[in-house]
C-alpha cells in the first residue's frame, strides 16, 4: 500500500527517531547500554544519538548489566527517565534481579510513592545461526513476572509509537525488538516491518492488540516476527479461499484478551504463533485465555506453532526446522479445518 508522502523507516530508525524526539523535549530522558554510543547499537536503534546528544546523555557502559540496569532503576526513582539496553535478551540471566526484583517491584514496594519510569529495550530472536545464547525470544519469561509492561513491535509504525509511549510511561516497560525486523541488512530483513512512519512524534497505546489482517475462518495470534509469518500464511490460505484473521499482540503485558476472544468468537479457530519456547509460555496463555472464557466458541482444537523445548541449535538445517514459518501455520490450519 503506497500513500501520499510515504515515509518508510526501518524499526531501527523508528526507534532511534522516537528516542531522539523525546530527548529533544525532555531533559530527563537518557540512554545507557553497551555499544549504544559510537556504534549506535549493535542493532542500529541508537544510531545518530551520540552525535546529537553527546556522551553525557548517550552512555556506553561497562559489561555490567546488573550494575547499569540497577543504576537505571535508581536514576528513574530519582526523577530521570532512562532508556537502557540489554543487548540480547539472552543475557537477562546475569542481571534479572535488577529487572524483576527492583525495576518491576519498587513501585509496589513503595505503595506507589516512587515511580520507575524507564524503558528496557532488548533484542530477541534467531534465524541467522547465532546459536543457543544469542537467539532466544523469552517473551514468556518476561511476561510471566508482575510489575513490568512488555511490548514487542512488528513494524516501524508501532515501533516508534510504542517507544514513545514507553518513554512517557511512569512504569517500567520492557521493549523487545526482533533482530530480523530491525532492517539491518546484515541480518536479512523482513520487508513487511519497514512501513510508513510519520515524522511527528506520536504514541501507540500499550496494551492494545492490532488486527493486522481481517478474516473470518481462523484467528492467528502472534507477535513480533511471528506476525509476518502469520500474514504470509494468511496469503497462502487465501489462495485456497480461506480467510484468516491475524492479530498482532503488540503488548504482552497488559494482554488484550478482549480482542483475541472477540476474534475467536467470530472465527471459531485459533492458531498461536510464537518463536519463544513451546511450554509454559505465550502460546499456552493465549489458548487458556480463550478457553477459560468460553469453551464453546472453538470449533476445533487450538493449535500452536512455537519453538520446541530445546536450546536453539546453531546449524541452519536444525534451527530452521525448529522455527515457526508460514508452511507450518498453513499445515496447522489443514489439521483443524475439517471441524
Amino acid at each position: 500500500m503506497t500513500q501520499t508522502n510515504e515515509r518508510k523507516l526501518t524499526i531501527a530508525r523508528a526507534m532511534a527517531e522516537a528516542v531522539a524526539q523525546e530527548m529533544r523535549t525532555d531533559d530527563r530522558v537518557f540512554v545507557m547500554g553497551e555499544d549504544i554510543a559510537a556504534l549506535g547499537g549493535v542493532y542500529g536503534n541508537t544510531r545518530g544519538l551520540l552525535e546529537e546528544f553527546g556522551e553525557e546523555r548517550i552512555r556506553d557502559t561497562p559489561i555490567s548489566e546488573t550494575g547499569f540496569i540497577g543504576a537505571a532503576v535508581g536514576a528513574a526513582q530519582d526523577g530521570m527517565r532512562p532508556v537502557v539496553e540489554l543487548m540480547f535478551v539472552d543475557f537477562f540471566g546475569v542481571c534479572f534481579d535488577a529487572i524483576y526484583n527492583l525495576m518491576a517491584k519498587n513501585i509496589y514496594f513503595s505503595g506507589g510513592n516512587v515511580k520507575v519510569p524507564m524503558v528496557l529495550m532488548t533484542s530477541t530472536g534467531g534465524g541467522y545461526s547465532d546459536a543457543g545464547q544469542h537467539s532466544q525470544c523469552l517473551y514468556g519469561t518476561f511476561a510471566h513476572l508482575p510489575g513490568m509492561k512488555v511490548v514487542t513491535p512488528s513494524n516501524a509504525y508501532d515501533a516508534k509509537g510504542l517507544m514513545t509511549a514507553a518513554m512517557r510511561d511512569d512504569s517500567p516497560v520492557v521493549y523487545m525488538f526482533h533482530k530480523s525486523l530491525q532492517g539491518m541488512g546484515w541480518l536479512g530483513t523482513e520487508a513487511g516491518a519497514t512501513v510508513h512512519t510519520p515524522e511527528e512524534s506520536y504514541t501507540v497505546e500499550i496494551g492494545k492488540a492490532a488486527i493486522a489482517r481481517q478474516g473470518k475462518d481462523v484467528t492467528i495470534v502472534s507477535l513480533g516476527m511471528g506476525v509476518h509469518n502469520a500474514l504470509k500464511a494468511a496469503d497462502k490460505l487465501s489462495e485456497s479461499g480461506v480467510d484468516a484473521e491475524v492479530i498482532d499482540l503488540r503488548s504482552l503485558v497488559p494482554l488484550d484478551r478482549d480482542t483475541i476472544r472477540a476474534s475467536v468468537a467470530k472465527t471459531g479457530r485459533l492458531i498461536v504463533v510464537d518463536e519463544d519456547y513451546h511450554s509454559y509460555g505465550v502460546s499456552g496463555e493465549i489458548i487458556a485465555s480463550v478457553t477459560e472464557h468460553n469453551i464453546s466458541v472453538l470449533k476445533a482444537p487450538p493449535r500452536r506453532i512455537t519453538f520446541p523445548d530445546v536450546p536453539i541449535p546453531f546449524a541452519r538445517p536444525m534451527e530452521q526446522y525448529c522455527l515457526p514459518n508460514p508452511d507450518k501455520i498453513v499445515a496447522a490450519f489443514e489439521e483443524i479445518k475439517a471441524a
Binding site: 561497562p62 555490567s64 535508581g74
Partner: protein, 328 residues
C-alpha cells in the same frame, strides 16, 4: 573531622531511638508466636532482622546526610532508616503491615521506601548498590546536590553486584559511597569462610578509589571517616568504599538460635554494646550529664511507644489493596 556536641547528641539520640525500636519490635514479634514459634503468626509476621549493635555505623554516616541525599539499605534496614529520618510512625506501621505504613503494608520490614527522605531497600544481597549508583548519576546529570550511600553487609561484598556497581561509580566518578557493616557473619557463615581478604576496604584498589576500614564500632571514628568520604563525593571527587567493624547483638533473624557461633562470643559482644559505651563516653568527656541522657532515652522510648501505638491502632489494609500500586 570530629563531631560537634550537637552531632554527638544527635548520634546518641538516634542510636537509642533505633535500639528502642528493635527492643519494642522484639517483644511484640513473639506475640502470637508462643508456645509454638510460627513465623506466620502474630502482629508482626514474617522474617525480622534486627540491627542491635550496628547503630554506630548508621548514625556515624547519616549524621552527614540530609533528606535530599539518597540511602539504600538491605534486609536489615531499621537503624539506617531511623538515622536517615524515615517517618517512624509510617515505618512502624509498615512493619506491622498496616494501611498507614510506608507502602500500605505491601513491602514490610525488608522493603522500607520513603520517597520524602530518599530511602529505599532491597532484600536481595547487594542489590541496593545499583540503584544508589544510579541516583548518584541522576544528581550528577541534573547538576543537583546530593550523595548516594549504599549500606551493605560484609557478606554482600562477595556478590557480583558489589563489583559492578563500584566499578561503574568509579568510571563515572559519581557521588557514591558504599558502607559495609562488617558484623563478621552472613547468617551462619563467618566472614573468614566466605571472603578471601581479611578486610574488604582493600577492594577499593580494584576501582582506584579510596578505601577505609574502621575498627571498634566507634561512632566518632565512623563519623570522621564518613564525613571525609561524603565531603569528597560532594566535591565531585568520586566514590569511596568504607568498611566498618560492628557486631550483631541479635540473631541473624528472630528465632535464630545462633548455634553456629563460637562459645561465649556473644557475652563478649554484649559487654561492648555501643550504646552504654557512648553514654559513658559522653559523660566522661563532659559532653552530657546523666540527666541529659536519661531525658534523651525517655524521649526515645516515648517516641517509639507512640509509633507502636500508631501502628497497632492503624487499620489493616483491605485485602483487595493487594492488587493496586503495581503500576504507577
Amino acid at each position: 573531622m570530629q563531631p560537634s556536641l550537637e552531632q554527638k547528641l544527635w548520634m546518641f539520640e538516634h542510636m537509642v531511638l533505633s535500639r528502642c525500636c528493635e527492643e519494642a519490635i522484639a517483644g511484640i514479634y513473639f506475640e502470637g508466636k508462643q508456645p509454638v514459634f510460627n513465623m506466620a503468626s502474630g502482629p508482626i509476621p514474617g522474617e525480622m532482622h534486627l540491627s542491635d549493635g550496628q547503630e554506630p555505623v548508621a548514625v556515624g554516616v547519616c549524621a552527614h546526610l540530609d533528606a535530599d541525599d539518597i540511602v539504600t539499605a538491605t534486609h536489615r534496614p531499621h537503624h539506617q532508616a531511623i538515622a536517615k529520618g524515615v517517618d517512624l510512625d509510617k515505618m512502624m506501621a509498615e512493619i506491622f503491615g498496616k494501611s498507614t505504613g510506608l507502602s500500605g503494608g505491601r513491602g514490610g520490614h525488608m522493603h522500607l521506601f520513603d520517597a520524602d527522605v530518599n530511602f529505599a531497600c532491597s532484600g536481595i544481597i547487594a542489590q541496593g548498590m545499583g540503584p544508589a549508583v544510579g541516583a548518584a548519576l541522576s544528581r550528577k546529570m541534573q547538576n543537583k546536590p546530593g550523595v548516594a550511600v549504599s549500606f551493605i553487609g560484609e557478606g554482600a561484598a562477595n556478590q557480583g553486584a558489589f563489583h559492578e556497581a563500584l566499578n561503574l561509580a568509579a568510571v563515572w566518578k559519581l557521588p557514591f559511597i558504599c558502607v559495609i557493616e562488617d558484623n563478621a557473619w552472613g547468617i551462619s557463615v563467618a566472614k573468614g569462610a566466605s571472603t578471601a581478604v581479611e578486610r574488604n576496604h582493600v577492594r577499593a584498589a580494584s576501582y582506584d578509589i579510596p578505601g577505609h576500614y574502621i575498627e571498634g564500632n566507634d561512632p566518632y571514628k565512623i563519623f570522621a571517616v564518613a564525613g571525609e568520604a561524603i565531603a569528597r563525593a560532594r566535591a565531585g571527587e568520586g566514590p569511596t568504599l568504607i568498611e566498618a567493624e560492628t557486631f550483631r547483638l541479635a540473631g541473624h533473624f528472630m528465632g535464630d538460635a545462633e548455634g553456629y557461633r563460637p562459645e561465649g562470643e556473644k557475652d563478649g559482644l554484649f559487654a561492648r554494646d555501643p550504646i552504654p559505651a557512648m553514654r559513658a563516653r559522653l559523660i566522661a568527656d563532659g559532653d552530657a550529664t546523666d540527666a541529659d541522657l536519661d531525658a534523651i532515652e525517655t524521649k526515645a522510648k516515648e517516641r517509639v511507644d507512640a509509633a507502636i501505638r500508631f501502628a497497632r491502632e492503624s487499620a489493616d489494609p483491605q485485602p483487595e489493596d493487594a492488587l493496586t500500586s503495581v503500576f504507577a
